[in-house]
Symmetry: C2
Subunit: 341 residues, 2 copies
């Protein structure tokens, strides 16, 4: 429980799948700025399938790789900028261009049994003085022993960390424990995990990965991501906090970050609304949400603060009238503050 | 792994929260018929807060309790009909009326520290020859020892099972393991679990409950339910299948059941679309979904069958052209069958 967990936010890369790779440079700029402010460690940017992947087969992106990366770069101060790189779609020249734009982290990915194709790209990024991760995609298609063999290859090429991707959202917590545990035990570099939520297990699988020694997690705000979406960042951070794991951000800041995407994230993307995560965080009855949302809007009060107060009073279902009472009290206090100011 | 897990579907009761208690008798009838056909064990029906709860404070229901129950009753053959009953909102006369309509299972609920108020209602249901469950709501607000004390009270009143509700979606898998495990160890009756998805942990918590000896799970289609929704039934069944637990239904049948709610379930209810659960079940790259959906519509082919074939070919990202090829092959085979028929 002592490690700080590194959060790699894939909203601007895996999330691009959710909008058929139509994220604009302006959307990327505004999100990158907000992610930097929220304390996200790494911001991953690009076409859903990574550098060089814009094509008729996989989907044409609105912006070029360089446009997307430059838009993010200009807005990141502390957060690192990363790219997803699949040999075949991407070539050495793509690394060169990414270096020019100022990419910090190269995530060199292969199908989980083909790590050998990543060698020259990992070495290239390392020789340029950058961070390189080896990423094993579709990790459910290989057993723990095979994944370890592949991960060791990437480690031998100089990868600073190995990330297991559950690209299909197929894995159960038991699968994750076995595979991540094996890598953590036998590798000398850090291990990361990238979940998808197809079976509703993304948050649980990510937590199990950390419990088994992973120190990096991928996530996307509002579950923004391919298919059922990735691990939802806000829920993940709330649960990491509950378990006592440190991150450079916190739930409230990820909630602010999620708000930035409201204008460009399709409503149908599966995600748990912030209001509902908030009641989960505070342990308030789920049926309170419509009441809290209505009162927060009507009285212009902070829904978080209202939830905190309702939780302090240990409110339970059937005491909905107390929500109204507490909301009005909060509004009155705020008015006093406003007048005094 | 030998028990058959009893599934209690709360879509028509907890799900009523998601539409502010506006489910109509007709919607209830159509869903109940589909649930019965899908092999759901128990169908729970009524106002979100249970019998007698329709009020200005909690929300006025469109239909009376009797109208809702009668609509379900007329369409259930093998599935049992159940009600949620919170003393205070509901009274003895509500049990009488429910008995007249033909309710099979009375879920008598109290706040997790107030089991003693359930006594007369559990006894009443039992004396009428019906099944009675004791339900402890907001179970995160009491520790395992206290929950066991309360559960034992309900057991002593004659409850056939005890259900722990995580009404706020606050609990982690560790919490669930401790609390459910304690009950299973010390009670002589069955234990059930009712999760909410506020922290994205509903499916994982439900599985942990079963691993710790629970034999009944509550769930709702499309996560339909209060706040962030309950455990999503379709995802839960897919994961139960993966773990080898038997139920009276299966993933494909729950997918058909979920379709029934498309016309009356609000789009913003957080849920994982069936197409995305399906790729998770088959272990296909999440980014395939838009391609699969488009081809299934264009060629009038079955998306499940297409997924099964793509999985058999162990397709990975970048092979999107093969989806097109396999879809056309499937369409051609179907045309041959149609001509021959």
């Amino acid at each position: 429980m002592t490690n700080t967990i590194i959060l790699s936010d894939a909203s601007l890369r895996d999330g691009n799948h959710a909008v058929r790779h139509q994220l604009t440079a302006q959307q990327i700029a505004s999100y990158a700025r907000a992610a930097d402010e929220a304390g996200i460690d790494i911001v991953e940017v690009g076409h859903g399938n990574g550098l060089g992947a814009s094509s008729c087969l996989l989907g044409k992106a609105t912006s070029t790789d360089t446009e997307m990366l430059a838009a993010a770069r200009a807005n990141l101060r502390r957060s690192k900028l990363s790219v997803h790189f699949i040999p075949g779609f991407a070539k050495t020249t793509d690394i060169e261009r990414a270096l020019e734009v100022g990419v910090d982290v190269f995530r060199i990915a292969s199908h989980c049994t083909e790590a050998n194709i990543t060698r020259q790209y990992i070495e290239h990024a390392k020789q340029a003085g950058k961070t390189a991760y080896g990423v094993l995609m579709m990790s459910h298609m290989a057993d723990a022993a095979e994944l370890l063999r592949q991960a060791k290859l990437m480690q031998s090429y100089g990868a600073d960390a190995i990330v297991l991707m559950d690209s299909a959202g197929f894995s159960t917590p038991g699968d994750v424990a076995e595979k991540v545990g094996r890598l953590v035990e036998h590798l000398s570099v850090a291990v990361g995990y990238h979940a998808h939520n197809n079976l509703g297990l993304a948050v649980a699988n990510s937590i199990v990965a950390v419990q088994c020694g992973a120190t990096m997690l991928d996530a996307c705000v509002r579950g923004f991501g391919a298919g059922a979406g990735n691990t939802q960042l806000e829920a993940l951070v709330a649960v990491l906090e509950r378990y006592g794991y440190a991150t450079r951000t916190d739930f409230a800041r990820t909630a602010v970050l999620a708000k930035v995407t409201e204008s460009f994230l399709p409503v149908r993307t599966p995600h748990i609304p912030i209001a509902n995560i908030t009641t989960g965080v505070y342990g308030l009855f789920s049926g309170f949400v419509p009441h809290i949302e209505r009162l927060a809007t009507e009285l212009k009060i902070d829904a978080f603060e209202l939830c905190a107060r309702l939780a302090a009073r240990k409110l339970v279902a059937g005491q909905e009238d107390t929500i109204v009472e507490e909301a009005h009290r909060l509004a009155a206090e705020m008015n006093v503050t406003r007048v005094a100011a």
